[in-house]
Symmetry: C2
Subunit: 438 residues, 2 copies
């Protein structure tokens, strides 16, 4: 094992202890200082990025990376401005650490508090995007977590330059520079994934393949950017105009997003009239419709491909929409539970009781009535910043804000109480009185 990755991780762990007891003001100041230094060092950052871009040009030529990756890699003045703007926004968010979630008097002079605290060390494994460095560092510092960044080879020089600046800002604000560290080399991924004694959470940022590789190769909890196979169920009692607008927005606003819709389920009662309107509406938007047998029969005069069975589980991330006619809302829910990714599911209907049943029965991170699936997003939900969207049910579900980077501990303040006094024939009773939390 490369001892330097281990040593880097250990120094990051030590820094995390200092960070955990640092003040919110100091951590926010470090984020602001880093943003300022980035502004001041734009030219050297662009120069570092130029070296990465040169190498990436060759990878592009050899087909190792594609044009989209190349574009994500490129730093511009506009991108730098967006990065620092977003860091400053994180600095302004309320402190997620030290919040009292519960306060209970167990007995006189024996008070239990449940308070939020940082997870400790976050390992972020990312590809291509330089803004992952600034965003995760800002979110980490705000939540008092130290971070170990593992950048993809294609973005290594840029990441290194950014991390050096952030570390300078940490030192300037009296925080340990090892709170933000960078490790290099493909083999360091496996090493990080094996350090369950040091790393408290892994956040993979990149391709679906990367996320799946990380999930399959570690016992450390993974906060994965989710796959999204989101559905829109158009009920018999739907307002068809509203349904068209919601499908349009959910599919075309940003097809590559995980909260874009992949499948529309249409109640058979309105399929005959609704499907031709849907096809007509989507055609000028260049959305390709693929259909079940019944959909294809209704749209017989149009070039609608059949949906393969496996496709119902496919995240197209493209202007392609699968359409299925269902006999009932129950069938729609069974389809969603069978093929969905538990991400975000919408019902379009004017029938409130049908809507409420859908919202109650569907098991997903987001269940929406008469709204676009695209609202499933930390910014739109009002969280200020987003770490990612989770389709896991544990710890954090749906869009994850700073809260997802925290845990809690129970603090008990006593005056010498013994558990033995509260049991047996002469047991002192607990008071278990809820106290105000401020």
């Amino acid at each position: 094992m490369n001892s330097s990755v281990r040593e880097t991780a250990e120094s990051c762990k030590r820094a995390s202890r200092t960070l955990a007891v640092s003040s919110s003001e100091r951590r926010s100041a470090a984020i602001r200082a880093a943003a300022e230094l980035i502004e001041q060092n734009r030219s050297s950052l662009l120069a570092a990025n130029a070296v990465d871009l040169d190498a990436a040009n060759q990878m592009l030529a050899s087909g190792e990376i594609n044009a989209a990756t190349f574009e994500r890699l490129r730093l511009t003045d506009k991108k730098l401005a967006e990065m620092t703007r977003s860091m400053l926004a994180v600095a302004e968010l309320p402190d997620p650490i030290g919040r009292v979630l519960q306060r209970t008097e167990l007995d006189a002079d024996l008070v239990l508090e449940k308070i939020t605290c940082p997870l400790g060390v976050l390992a972020i494994i990312f590809e291509a995007r330089p803004d992952a460095v600034t965003q995760i560092s800002a979110l980490g510092l705000k939540s008092a977590n130290a971070v170990i960044l593992k950048a993809g080879r294609e973005v290594e020089r840029t990441a290194h330059a950014l991390v050096e600046i952030i570390r300078r800002a940490l030192t300037r604000c009296g925080l340990p520079e090892d709170a933000v560290t960078l490790v290099a080399g493909r083999e360091s991924i496996q090493q990080l994934l094996g350090m369950s004694d040091i790393v408290d959470m892994v956040i993979p940022r990149g391709s679906k393949q990367l996320v799946e590789f990380v999930q399959a190769n570690t016992r450390i909890p993974v906060l994965g950017h989710a796959e999204g196979v989101c559905h829109i169920y158009v009920d018999a009692a739907a307002d068809p105009d509203m349904a068209l607008a919601i499908i349009d927005d959910s599919k075309t606003d940003y097809p590559a997003a995980c909260n874009a819709a992949e499948t529309v389920l249409v109640h058979e009662k309105i399929a005959e009239t609704f499907l031709p309107r849907l096809a007509e509406h989507l055609s000028p938007k260049h959305v390709k419709v693929r259909g079940c047998e019944q959909t294809r029969a209704i749209l017989a005069d149009q070039p609608v491909e059949a949906v393969a069975q496996s496709e119902w589980q496919t995240e197209y991330s493209d202007l392609v929409l699968a359409v299925r006619v269902v006999k009932s809302m129950d069938d729609a829910i069974v389809h969603i539970h069978t093929h969905g990714s538990l991400h975000t599911e919408t019902i379009v209907t004017q029938d409130t009781s049908a809507a409420e049943r859908f919202l109650a029965e569907v098991d997903a991170a987001g269940v929406f009535h008469n709204a676009s699936t695209r609202f499933a997003d930390g910014y739109r939900y009002g969280f200020g910043a987003e770490v990612g969207i989770s389709t896991s049910k544990l710890h954090a579900r749906g869009p994850v804000g700073l809260e997802g980077l925290t845990t809690y501990k129970y603090v008990l303040r006593g005056t010498g109480q013994l558990a033995g006094s509260y049991q047996g024939p002469n047991a002192v009773p607990f008071t278990h009185k809820k106290l105000p939390i401020d």
Copy 2:
């Protein structure tokens, strides 16, 4: 693969859908009905248990199980009464499902709610204890989760008889009987651990070996009963009488518990006077002290064995206590972070600012000042019922009540809103107004 285990799990998943939308009243009624039926069927339960005991007698003779396991297996009238009493207590707890955790107006007529909901299907793998069946079934039903029970071979007949009764109670209350299911056979463990598409959480109940096996062999989240290597730090400013009483209670009240203390760290300033008193105090309690070099030097006239390096990480689960002299509180904290299990750590001191620093800096599920480690317990914390104690930082940390068996979903109710309207040059602003949650 044994298709019947898969089929059982699938029917349990279907039942979980019904349970998820059932009323709290109905689920609590089913728990009460099950308790009543257990009361009424005591003799047949004891008869089933007698068959298990007969077989267990042979396992005992062949050394396959030990006397403690045999005792845990034995059902008695008293144990049955305790089981039903505890079920009725769970039935009385507040409904953990459907609680609104957050309510936000995103815009006019676009309201987001974060509400608690069940995880879905819990798989419980347990050994010996018949009360695991009733306790987990009650906690599962209360939190609207379906449960798959995998009983150890030694308790299979008893578990089967109990599950049959609980299923009758479910039917009687209009709930699907498959909400509580039992699978048998050692090979079914591997099968359950592979069903990440069906099982939402695994709860191993039994030996440390069992818990570790489960953790190492599944990608399903595991709520493990924790290992506890808990410390008591006796500060230079400790009240020695209080320290003795707290150490005594933490060690001797129930040495096999995970919240029992294993190691005492004593500040060197008071070690010379405190350690002889500690040895004197513990000797009549049959607690064997093992010490670091300095401890052994101070207690030179006593038979104090040396602590092996690996022992600092050992959960003795017995009347054995490791003692170490430390130069400072910082050294004590480093020792705890190096060797502890992040379970529960206590400082004994009259110096409030030292105490507050310890509470802030120590990274553990429970950090206590002047109180016994034995308070780390769901009942003592006032949770009503306990699923277990978690030393994981994610999802649930410390004693876990019903809340640990829930997740949440985001419910968004709109009137046709599109994400596209809230972005770009003519973006409608979000209101992001916090609404009262009742």
